[in-house]
Amino acid sequence: MSVALPLPWLIVVPLGGAMASFLVPERWRVRLGLAVLPVMWLVTLAVLGDLAAHGVQVHALGGWSAPLGITLLADGLALGMVALTTLVFSLCAVHAASHAAEKGHNGEIGFLWPLLWFLVAALNSIWLSADIFNLYVGLELLGLTAVGLVALTGSAEALAAAMRYLLAALLGSLCYLLGVALLYAAGGSLALGDLGTIAGSGATARVALALMTLGLILKTALFPLHAWLPPAHGGALAPVSALLSALVVKASLYILIRLWLALDPDVATAAAANLLGALGAGAVLWGGWMAWRQTKLKYLVAYSTVAQIGYLFLFFPLVTGTSTIAGGLAWDGTLLMLISHALAKAGMFLAAGNLVLAMGSPLIADLSGISRFRPLSLFSFGLAGVSLMGLPPSGGFTAKWLLLQSALHSGQWWWVVVLIVGGLLSAAYVFKVLRHSFVEGPKRDHFNSPPMAMELAALALAAAGMGVGLAAQSPLTWMRIGSPFGVGG
């Protein structure tokens, strides 16, 4: 079997890009950061091509196969996340670059580019890793980069948000590490693929899973452990908020899903799964309600992330102890929800950033009149909102439809109520923003105008979130390669 490109390139390229953009003089950082983008695309497409041609790929790092060494595993799920990362990151990078070009100098955000590329390296290392300790190092890499990006502006609010985020991230990864210690002591291996057979189903494995789940939901900001998220995501630069909400919180959820599917069903019990589902339902309701009550635009979008994370946790009760069909539907629905939320939320954060820049105020109440001046950004915001609400034909709609069918199929109708009420709450907060923007308030005729590239980046992401709904079949077919649910669903 000859592959076109070995998997480690997906980590070497962003890591090299990060170090190169750290080394070069400041005035070249943006250009160099952008120059690595096409390379990243080439590598991503080549690895996707290998997946299509040869199926699931495994790379034994250092030539040492597991359990002695660390392996990279590229199944459909992992490479789907890699492709999503490349897509969302490219558009956020374009947004950040044109913002820097507009300001004429980038002294204020000089170290943005090395950190952005470190973020991609950290994300790819998590998507590909098949070793539970290596995932811990990846989580720390991601956590510190994200904290740094939040703190970047150096203002008092940013520093407080970064500190709160850092404390949550550190506690979360320590809980995860405790779980790793227990699993290694009980199983003697760190390979993710071995866990199901060797870790057993005794108290040690259960405590380990409980601790790891606790740490990971803290990092994913699942209700009621979400308090660190809104200030961190709501206060950062717009492209940083977009990346954090679209991709970073998904990384810890991704590890949780991998663990849950790898461990013995006696360890990952239905009761625990239902508890996670209940917390997810709480997140949908509380996050939606809090989003509606916000007065600052970016905080509204950040609370919307808290709500949308909730939907993703309905995965656990829908796949644990249910039929293969219900499980397959939940798998498809959750992945589609993950993709469409990543695209729509990134689009929404970029659009919100453009709107804030245009009005020169972070408040929703100051939006009045903006519908005439910045229709394109407002349209992107609305388009992303349609996907978050789950109206047809968006990706959010198809995802919710699949989850709904899975809930009905497994006889858990109460999750359907959560899906519907959550959709109504999303509609409430999206329409709150739109209502304010169409009001002709006190006569204002001066708005700043962000560059076209920034508006187009937001529009492209929001439109992609819509397109996922129209062409849901192809990403799902890809991501089913090597999945435990096969081609069902």
Partner: protein
């Protein structure tokens, strides 16, 4: 009880103490110290428990060395952010704890 298992038990106690301090305290420096105590506890569990009844195992020892570097980096970053925060706000606690 083997000495390896004893170390693991001490690690459990340190973890409990660290977590208690981490949640209880509001001063960021104390919380950071509590985090480090908890980290040391988990490293002791990682090495001690894996070697109980099986003799020396180089793998968890290497993992702990990696973990220590990561913990040093996180603590240093937290201290830098803490000092910057103190400099702009005059506070050594988070705004909601003041």
């Amino acid at each position: 009880m083997s000495s390896a298992l004893f170390y693991a038990w001490v690690g459990v106690v340190l973890c409990g103490l660290g977590l208690f301090g981490f949640i209880l305290h509001r001063h960021l420096m104390r919380r950071l110290l509590a985090f480090n105590i908890m980290g040391s506890g988990s490293f002791m569990i990682l090495v001690g428990l894996a070697q109980d009844g099986r003799g020396a195992d180089p793998v968890p020892q290497a993992l702990v060395l990696t973990g220590i570097v990561v913990a040093v980096a996180s603590t240093a970053l937290a201290l830098v952010i803490l000092r910057r925060w103190y400099r702009v706000s005059g506070e050594s606690r988070l705004p909601e704890d003041v």
